[in-house]
């Protein structure tokens, strides 16, 4: 309605309707574009490789739910899942705690070398992680950590820590100094202020880094395939790779494995999506 309470002219209403329709079409097309491969994969996960080879896009008939049992029990996906969970949860926990503490220190305390440390961290984000692969391999061998979940966890921590510190520092620096001063006046020390003020207020940003790190490490393949050789220490991405032979690929089993591996990612989104959005838009809206 216009300011005088009358409806806008028909041409105006038509234009509005057309623009909304165009927007809906674009969103629908994008949804199909992103969702279709996932749905295709989901249908393949309950079909045998023979059925998939006969007709790539056919609807499952019948549904081979046993593929998940075969993948989980017979193909050791339970072990891979457990290994991935241990490595990723441990790495994300360390990265989040250490990263938040480091970001808080860099954002809040004035000390000699503060900006140099920040610059070094930032520079490590710029370079591709592959250039550290050989040196990390050698370090793990030297310290007896090669082919161990602990070694892989430490590598994951080193990979994700700079970006985490960088993202959190930007958020923490925007927390007003007065809040810290008020907490000091209320009788709290530095560690208590970090725990009771910085962590709760920074939770949207922390949740953002947490989910980004989780997804990135959960899907990480390169470092895992180089640094882990024992079958019983494989993580999920390497486990899925085991279904790919030189002459034969068990597509149905790969699809079932991928479906198993995406469940935690979907759950992470479900639980953290609201905080993720708040973290990504923090500062954008006053």
């Amino acid at each position: 309605m216009s300011a005088d309470g009358t409806l806008p002219p028909a041409a105006g209403r038509g234009g509005f309707l057309a623009s909304r329709t165009a927007l809906a079409v674009v969103i629908a097309a994008y949804t199909v574009y992103t969702l279709a491969p996932f749905l295709w994969l989901a249908t393949m996960s309950v079909r045998t490789t023979g059925e998939i080879s006969a007709d790539h896009y056919a609807w499952p008939r019948p549904f081979h739910w046993e593929q998940f049992r075969i993948a989980w029990v017979d193909s050791d996906f339970a072990t891979y899942f457990w290994n991935s969970t241990v490595v990723v949860v441990a790495a994300v926990a360390v990265v989040t705690l250490v990263g938040a503490a480091a970001a808080h220190a860099l954002a809040r305390y004035r000390f000699r070398g503060n900006r140099i440390i920040y610059g070094v961290l930032f520079s490590s984000i710029i370079f591709p992680p592959q250039i550290t692969l050989i040196s990390l391999y050698q370090i793990l061998v030297d310290y007896g950590l090669y082919n161990s979940l602990l070694g892989l966890t430490l590598v994951y921590v080193s990979l994700q820590l700079p970006l985490t510190v960088y993202l959190l520092e930007g958020f923490f620096a925007r927390i007003p100094q007065d809040l810290f001063d008020a907490a000091k006046m209320d009788g709290y020390g530095d560690i208590e202020i970090f725990r009771r003020i910085v962590l709760p207020i920074g939770m949207p940003a922390i949740a953002t880094t947490l989910i980004l790190n989780f997804i990135q490490l959960w899907n990480e393949f390169l470092f895992a395939v180089v640094l882990i050789t024992d079958p019983d220490k494989r993580t999920l991405p390497i486990g899925i790779r085991a279904f790919m032979g030189d002459h034969f690929q068990d597509i149905g089993m790969i699809a079932a494995g991928v479906m198993i591996s995406v469940v935690p990612v979907i759950l992470a989104y479900v639980f953290f999506s609201e905080k993720l959005i708040r973290g990504m838009t923090a500062g954008a809206v006053k």
Partner: protein, 387 residues
């Protein structure tokens, strides 16, 4: 209950860095409401933060009740502070904000509940105890910030421009609320502001600061009627005091084409050192009148100039005049005053309403007669600053 003593307090950032607080010597008495007043960058907030323990003291001594506090951490000083931004914890409810400081001091839960309830009742916050700060208005947030300080029952309250984020109407209400709470608590309070109205209405005493130094300390009306220098004279008063740099002719009067006045408040002995030199004549805007008769004195001072702006404000009219020498001055006149822009007018004032300052040092030249209007205003302790 506390006496806060600042002895030659200095603040310097880095070795050889700028001195932002320079030799501040002030004692705030028990139960006193001291206002640190000055323009931005004068060091008043830094001084307050040093008292709070949020800034280190470069040199000098801070003592509370005789105990040196320089190296005592902020959390152990038993001081509460209200910040300009309120600094409420956004993830906590009003009740949690109020209780936060008490919990750290291991106050029993029943006592925490009692004090939070009592403070919330005094400040009218009971309906909002379960709300988070973002669900409160500016005035309510300000009251929570005040409550957070009150609930701790500290020795000293510090306020860092707590009203500057409020709109004009709310500022007046909250100002009165603070005055009321000061009377109720009878605690020592130190209040930083750049707003002279807040300083004049709230302070038991005010400490005017300029360039990191204390320019003058005294009761509000004492300082208003006996400014120590031209800075204080212009900083207190709205419009600011009119100042004219003029030669002192004939020993006891000023006579230029634009300004003519006897100097009735000063003895010849007081003026003798300035004979033949330039001095600064000060006249407040409210002491200027368009007609000599209304000045009410046998011999009046006179300023002649050309009107360049007329500002009718409803309750009064401000007349802006430029003298022949190019100096601008403002007169606060009755609301029905009529004047044309461009017209030449004579502004009259009682000679005993004039102030005189040394043009070289800007310091006030002591007078033996108290300024006009102070008898009417009834400012306490005026004679204290008299020679």
């Amino acid at each position: 209950m506390a006496v806060v003593q600042l002895s030659k307090i200095c603040k310097r950032y880095g070795s050889g860095g700028p001195v932002v607080v320079d030799n501040v010597d002030v004692t705030v008495g028990d139960g006193e409401f001291m206002v640190l007043l000055g323009p931005s960058g004068c060091g008043k907030s830094t001084t307050l933060r040093m008292i709070a323990g949020l800034e280190t003291i470069s040199s000098g001594t801070l003592a509370i009740n005789g105990r040196t506090m320089n190296d005592v951490p902020a959390k152990d000083r038993d001081i509460a502070m209200v910040f300009q931004s309120y600094a409420l914890y956004p993830h906590m409810t009003v009740a949690e904000n109020l209780a936060f400081g008490l919990r750290r001091r291991r106050t029993p839960p029943a006592e925490v509940k009692r004090r939070v309830g009592e403070t919330a009742a005094i400040l009218g916050l009971v309906p909002y105890l379960d709300r988070k700060p973002q669900a409160l208005s500016g005035g309510q947030r300000q009251r929570v910030a005040l409550g957070r300080a009150m609930v701790r029952e500290p020795m000293v309250f510090l306020f860092d421009e707590p009203l500057s984020n409020l709109d004009a109407a709310l500022r007046v209400n909250t100002r009165n609320e603070l005055i009321k709470q000061h009377h109720r608590l009878a605690s020592t309070m130190i209040y930083v502001t750049h707003d002279q109205v807040e300083a004049m209405t709230m302070g038991t005493r005010i400490c005017v600061m300029n360039g990191g130094r204390v320019a003058q300390v005294g009761r509000p009306l004492d300082v208003y009627w006996n400014p120590a220098d031209t800075f204080v004279a212009r900083f207190l008063g709205s419009p600011p005091m009119n100042l004219f740099t003029v030669p002192l002719s004939g020993g006891d009067r000023i006579r230029t084409p634009a300004i003519e006045t006897p100097l009735a408040r000063w003895t010849p002995a007081a003026l003798a050192p300035f004979a033949g030199r330039e001095v600064v004549l000060g006249v407040r805007a409210e002491d200027l009148h368009l007609a000599a008769a209304s000045a009410g004195a046998a011999e009046t001072g006179r300023i002649r100039g050309r009107v360049f702006a007329v500002e009718p404000l409803g309750a009064e009219t401000l007349l802006a005049v430029e003298t022949e020498g190019g100096t601008e001055c403002t007169a606060r006149l009755p609301r029905d005053t009529r004047a044309d822009v461009g017209a030449v007018v004579d502004l009259f004032f009682r000679p005993d309403a004039a102030f005189l300052f040394d043009a070289r040092t800007t310091a006030a030249i002591p007078a033996h007669v108290i300024p006009a209007n102070t008898m009417v205003a009834g400012g306490p302790g005026r004679a204290g600053a008299m020679p």
